[in-house]
């Protein structure tokens, strides 16, 4: 009975080995290949014979070479490393040589294989879990969150007061002369004086020609004097009147030009 099972195992093992060769492209690197080879030992990965595994791997590479199967470089690097490991495991340790022992290297390889195997199982368990959209489902018709836009205007009481203040004092910035009530315009003086010239046969003080209401308050009088004086200059230039002043700052006199 046992023999029967053993022989069938042999067959499946041989088949597996053949499959390994043919499917070499299907391996995810030398570690994956090593993991697959380690299964033929049919022991827990913790009790695996790394030496045997190294031999299996080297045998595989040799077979591949005979079948003229091109192996990727990393498979060959692994083969070289395993050959070295094998020698470290078989030969008595060289006291002169530094570095890790063969056993340490072997233990690490076993750890790597076990870890890879563990990750593979974890991946399988993960994928075996209930998955969203396959085994459980989210709401099929989610209500999108309605976003309403609200505009808030950033305006403070201060802004409001400033705006009002700006408006109410805008006139104060304007240089409009006619807003000022104490100005006697040149045009008015000229017009008034022109009207009075025909009656001015004798020398008369400029003061006499100042308009009513502009002779009292100093500001008003100043303005009236200035405008009237300017008007006399203009009329003198036109040849309508003559001007006379006896001394600097003395009163100014005017009369109609003789012959006019």
């Amino acid at each position: 009975m046992n023999d029967l099972w053993d022989s069938s195992d042999d067959i499946s093992a041989r088949r597996e080995a053949e499959a390994l060769i043919i499917d070499v492209d299907g391996f995810e690197g030398p570690l994956d290949l090593l993991l697959t080879l380690s299964r033929t030992q049919k022991v827990d990965l913790r009790r695996i014979s790394v030496l045997q595994l190294a031999e299996q791997y080297l045998g595989f590479v040799e077979q591949a070479r005979q079948l003229r199967i091109e192996l990727a470089a990393d498979y060959l690097v692994m083969a070289a490393w395993l050959a070295y490991l094998k020698s470290r495991l078989l030969l008595p340790p060289d006291p002169a040589e530094d570095g890790p022992s063969g056993e340490e290297l072997a233990a690490h390889l076993a750890f790597q294989l076990e870890r890879l195997q563990a990750m593979r199982e974890a991946a399988a368990r993960l994928m075996g879990r209930d998955q969203k959209g396959r085994d459980f489902f989210a709401r099929g018709d989610p209500t999108p969150l309605a976003v309403s836009r609200k505009t808030v205007f950033d305006v403070s009481l201060l802004d409001l007061m400033r705006a009002y203040a700006r408006l109410r004092t805008r006139d104060e910035f304007r240089p409009y002369a006619f807003d000022r009530t104490d100005i006697y315009p040149l045009e008015a003086a000229l017009e008034r004086l022109s009207r009075m010239v025909p009656g001015a046969a004798d020398w008369t003080s400029l003061q006499a020609y100042l308009p009513e209401g502009w002779r009292g308050a100093p500001a008003r009088k100043r303005s009236a004097v200035a405008s009237t004086f300017a008007a006399t200059l203009e009329l003198a230039k036109q040849g309508q009147i003559e001007l006379r002043q006896s001394d600097t700052f003395a009163p100014l006199h005017l009369r109609r030009r003789a012959g006019q």
């Binding site: 505009t151 409001l160 109410r168």
Partner: protein, 220 residues
């Protein structure tokens, strides 16, 4: 008489699941499905022998008064958020913008001079007031129409609203500071023109009277 909502149970291979289980199934289907399903469509998904109508009835009462309800949509059924909770699915995105200078000035004039006509606003601003500016202020609920003026053409007037007072933290429009106070607060950088007889108080006071004698401002 065949009932399309009932899978044919003449010769059931397996007994139908218990009603509680049928209810769970209908619940899951309606939850996951994007569209309302008719009773027949639900039945088609359930094991044979299920009574969709009964399961729907149980489900409907189970969701009665909950945040989610079982509703009939056309000849289908669907789970929907309870109508009174629709506001939870709203989010407001607040955007802060500056108010245009024209709008601020117009608003200020209305606040200080209310009730004020458009023509009066234009006279104070010295430029025309665009319809858009008034509309914007109306929309913000900061101004509203006041009484018509008893003058030729009976122009409408504008007054500020309680919302305006609320926004600007005022108890009443009377609380708005006068020009004199603005000046004292350094908000006016210009000095009064030489010779000008302090127009401030004169200007402001009548407005104060306007507001005081304007009962319509806070009506309704």
């Amino acid at each position: 008489m065949s009932d399309p909502t009932r899978a044919d149970d003449d010769t059931p291979l397996f007994p139908a699941p218990p009603m509680a289980e049928q209810e769970r199934m209908v619940e899951a289907i309606l939850f996951a499905c994007a569209d309302p399903l008719s009773a027949a469509q639900i039945a088609a998904r359930l094991p044979h022998g299920c009574d969709v109508t009964e399961a729907l009835g149980h489900l409907r009462s189970r969701y009665q008064g909950r945040g989610v309800n079982l509703v009939r949509v056309g000849d289908g059924y669907a789970l929907r958020t309870a109508p009174d909770l629709g506001w939870l699915m709203q989010s407001e995105r607040v955007e802060t913008r500056k108010l245009s200078r024209a709008a601020i000035e117009t608003l200020a004039i209305i606040a200080y001079h209310q009730p004020v006509t458009r023509a009066e606003i234009e006279e104070i601003r010295g430029v025309a007031v665009s319809r858009g500016t008034i509309d914007q202020l109306l929309e913000l609920d900061w101004i509203r129409l006041g009484r018509r003026r008893m003058t030729p053409g009976r122009p409408v007037t504008f007054v500020v609203t309680p919302e305006f007072l609320d926004h600007f933290g005022l108890d009443s429009a009377r609380d708005l500071p006068g020009l004199k106070e603005l000046r004292e607060a350094g908000l006016l950088d210009s000095r009064p023109a030489p010779g000008a007889i302090g127009p401030d108080e004169d200007d402001i006071d009548p407005e104060g009277a306007n507001i005081a004698g304007q009962p319509e401002l806070f009506e309704d």
